[in-house]
Symmetry: C2
DNA sequence: TTGATTGCAAAGCATTTGCATGCTA
DNA sequence: TAGCATGCAAATGCTTTGCAATCAA
């Protein structure tokens, strides 16, 4: 299993994300849209960034490589990527829309540390099953769901026990990092 | 159990929500704030409305009884109610903040019909337990969570089988009704 | 009388759209 | 060449705040 992943990533080093690019092109063509340099650049940067990104986050990453690209284009391209099934919108409660990889990334839920903003992705088949069962009991046909759990991660729990100075004006703002759980 | 509820509600008919009012007053006084006619009215209308409400929804209900009350006051009073533990903020994915009763309303999750906007409240101790277990496995100390499931409710599934004319411009906007599940 | 409260208007902030110009097919 | 794409600026929608007048304690 582990070896499979390694060999695949080594063999396909040059063609990394070729499947994703193909999917995007297909979507573009099916919808009668056009292939552009901006869309290619935005797709590439999105694909090689594993973190949860807002449209603005991605805009600045793109901006570093090509300052002529506007944020509207990044915004619209993220919508395109979502339509194409490559990206997925997520919200963590700070009133912003984040995007995460969707293609080849199995469904998962999120656990968010309210201290450091760390986001842990996890999956529990048992929870999924119970959700389906609850829905069935209500005659509901489920299409999707969102489970988010907030709390304090292990690292931050340790920090709290130590004496610390909190600078005034320092707010526990949600910053998002991504860690893939089991 | 059932009889208990009935007798309680009959005995306390006149004092309905007296406990909630008491809690609000306590919070007001503890925080050095003031009792006002507007706050009383807003609290009353909030308490006797079981639906999930946005600040604007509540504003219009209040407006019907007293047009002189401003929406800012409703907005700020809802924040107060939330601080006092009487209300709770919820989001259903349409980018609005809804408020629901918190006091004496046990924790529950939401199932939202994407056709008619109906919201079913449900609770599953098994799901709760599994969440705690997952969190424990990651060394996480949970404070709260949000589980929302979208799908099509039983009624709307029946409707889909019948031929229907969809008026152009008719969008499946999320309207929120509340039904308490088991 | 003091200082919290109110309601209006305006500011914030993320998101979305209109439009003239540019560029793909 | 037709019409989609782009980037700027402005509009939108919900939320939040500043401020002068009002009102509870």
């Amino acid at each position: 299993m582990l070896f499979d992943n390694i060999s695949i990533s080594m063999v396909n080093k040059k063609d990394e994300f070729s499947k994703e690019r193909e999917i995007f092109l297909e979507h573009i063509q099916r919808a009668g849209l056009r292939k552009t340099a901006q869309r290619n650049l935005i797709l590439d940067i999105f694909l090689r960034t594993e973190e949860h990104l807002t449209s603005e986050d991605l805009y600045w990453l793109v901006h570093k490589e090509d300052p002529s690209v506007g944020n509207t284009t990044v915004y619209r391209t993220l919508k395109l990527l979502t339509e194409a099934g490559l990206a997925r919108e997520v919200r963590f409660g700070d009133n912003k829309t984040y995007y995460e990889h969707h293609y080849n990334h199995e469904h998962h839920d999120h656990m968010i540390c309210t201290e450091c903003g760390q986001v842990i992705e996890f999956f529990s088949q048992e929870i999924e099953n119970l959700q389906e069962q609850v829905a069935f009991n209500f005659g509901f046909s489920l299409s999707h769901h969102s489970l988010r759990m907030w709390g304090v991660c292990g690292e931050c729990q340790k920090k709290v026990t130590e004496p610390q100075v909190v600078p005034s004006g320092a707010q526990p703002k949600i910053k998002v990092r991504s860690v893939v759980g089991s």
